[in-house]
Amino acid sequence: MIWIAYRNELTKMAHRLAFWVSYIFFAFIALVGYLEDYLEARASPDRIFRLPDSWDQILTNDVEINFIFAGVVLVLLVANEFQWRTARQNVIDGLSKEQWFVGKLLLIPTLIGIFMATRTLVGVAFALAGTDAGDAALVTSVHAMAMGGVILAMSGALALALFVSLAVRNTGPAMAVWFFYFVALENLVAGGLVQLSDAFRPVVRFFPMALFNGAARYMQYDPEAYAAYVNRMAQNGREPLTLFDTSVLWGAASGWVAVLVLGAFLWFRRRDL
């Protein structure tokens, strides 16, 4: 039955104009971004855009765009079900609340796959144009870790979108709440707490978006990239970010994903449809 619920979710998504508009816009942004990188690399010997050197650009640059587009699509696919009362009808038709929820939950890996694959494929296509034969297949454990980090970060952002959608049950407000939290609220709260007392500094590092953004940072996985960053910051006289141990970062971020998914489920199950 879970397979049926998931298959129905795919059908609804594939027929949804809003999904395609979001996806095409996202793909267009990726295309323009990587085309620019490719053209700049061709025009200037100082710039490079080739594999394996540019995996960091392909995987993690402007990764917030992945969060935003996938999050918007998820909110549209979940919150609308309550305005149209189709969530209630799905349960009347024979899905249990648990099956309905799992169908929606499976949209998270699906959207991550779609959006990440699109961005990676477009980036790789342009990067390959500037790559010498024989080097292209070079993917190191650092790249794999960075990709894992982005997947974890997207899981977090989408779990938050799922939670908000099921709590608010209305597309516009859900999108506004999710976006406000994503863009501003957490930073405002964290900033306020740190201003209140420096003792909060280690605490706010464990806030959800702080962890998710940290997991999507390429230098978290590449010591050379981090060293170069520390040098740059030192030259500018600024304090560099202190990175988490990767296992702690992933453990804490995964914990937040689990909390958000469990919270969304319990909230959804408790309320009448």
Binding site: M1, I4, A5, R7, N8, T11, K12, H15, R16, L17, W84, R85, T86, R88, Q89, N90, V91, I92, D93, G94, L95, S96, K97, D272, L273
Partner: protein, 307 residues
């Protein structure tokens, strides 16, 4: 025979308000069961609890004899239902909406097209749901309830907002389903529709079940007299004092009185003696609407949407 629906002391409270208050009833296989009540009486909440989308705060119910959560989930696979307005994905075509339902119900592609043909949407099945008229939406909802060949069909206000032709079509479809041996649980406030369609009824008001019986039983006992006079107030007062009167209500310019035994000549003589001269005096069969008005007292407070 095991009742299809068995409700015992079912209650739903929203904070301090009891939307459904300790109701009990049973629906036997093959019945077309009308669940009557004014808007806000608790009909939809009761159905919502039966369908698992509203959690009861008290009491219990069984579907096809099963009362545990596993049994109820399995039993709901044998139920086709629509609650309030038709709920479908507006951007999907009619046929695609039914395909989603068919997958959940385990019905095949042929069942989708058969159901669309039964409700007369075969030619419009490729239109988006949002392009359908209200009548077409209601018919699509009926088609969805047929998916998986359910043994129990629950319909909540299926004729809401329809014109007389649409209502007739819905009634025909309900009879088609009944002819196929389905048990039908029909919630409505359209009393004459229920009377023409149902075999059994239950009347609910302010969350409480007031009466349950077959339509035949409920409409027997007492005779109904319609009266009209220039001075409705005087007529009303006089009729209320007539010895055989059980209940009186005002219906527009007319007085409708239920009497234990009605002899029109005697009624007329009684009124003339009190200086009331009627211009219309007629005896008719007691209708479900008459019973409803008596039981709920709706005639004393205006009928609202119950008509």
């Amino acid at each position: 025979m095991t009742p299809v629906i068995e409700v015992a002391g079912l209650t739903k409270r929203f904070r301090k308000t009891a939307a459904v208050d300790d109701i009990s009833f049973a629906v036997e296989p093959g019945q077309i069961f009308g669940f009557l009540g004014p808007n806000g009486s608790g009909k939809t909440t009761t159905i919502g609890m039966l369908l698992g989308i509203i959690t009861p705060t008290g009491g219990a119910f069984r579907l096809f004899g099963g009362g545990s959560s596993t049994e109820l989930h399995a039993a709901r696979r044998r139920v086709g239902a629509t609650l309030e307005q038709p709920n479908f994905y507006p951007y999907l075509r009619g046929v695609d909406n039914l395909r989603l339902v068919a997958r959940v119900k385990g019905a095949d592609e042929r069942a989708v097209h058969d159901a669309l043909d039964v409700v007369g949407l075969g030619k419009r099945k490729r239109d988006q749901f949002k392009a359908y008229s209200l009548g077409m939406k209601q018919r699509l909802a009926l088609a969805a309830t047929m998916m998986g060949d359910p043994e129990l069909v629950i319909l909540d206000e299926p004729a809401n907002g329809l014109d007389p032709e649409g209502m007739r079509e819905i009634r025909d479809i309900i009879h088609t389903l009944a002819d196929r041996g389905k048990t039908i649980f029909l919630s409505s406030h359209l009393l004459w529709e229920v009377e023409r369609t149902c075999t059994h009824v239950a009347i609910i008001q302010r969350g409480r079940l007031l009466r349950q019986a077959s339509v035949g039983e409920i409409t027997t006992g007492g005779e109904v007299v319609e009266l009209e006079a220039a001075d409705v107030g005087a007529l009303d007062r006089a009729v209320r004092e007539f010895p055989e009167v059980q209940s009186v209500r005002v219906d527009g310019d007319r007085i409708v009185a239920t009497m234990q035994r009605a002899d029109l000549a005697e009624v007329n003589r009684y009124l003339v003696e009190r200086g009331v001269y009627v211009r219309h005096l007629a005896l008719r069969q007691r209708s479900l609407e008459d019973v409803f008005m008596e039981v709920t007292g709706a005639g004393d407070h205006g009928m609202g949407e119950v008509a």
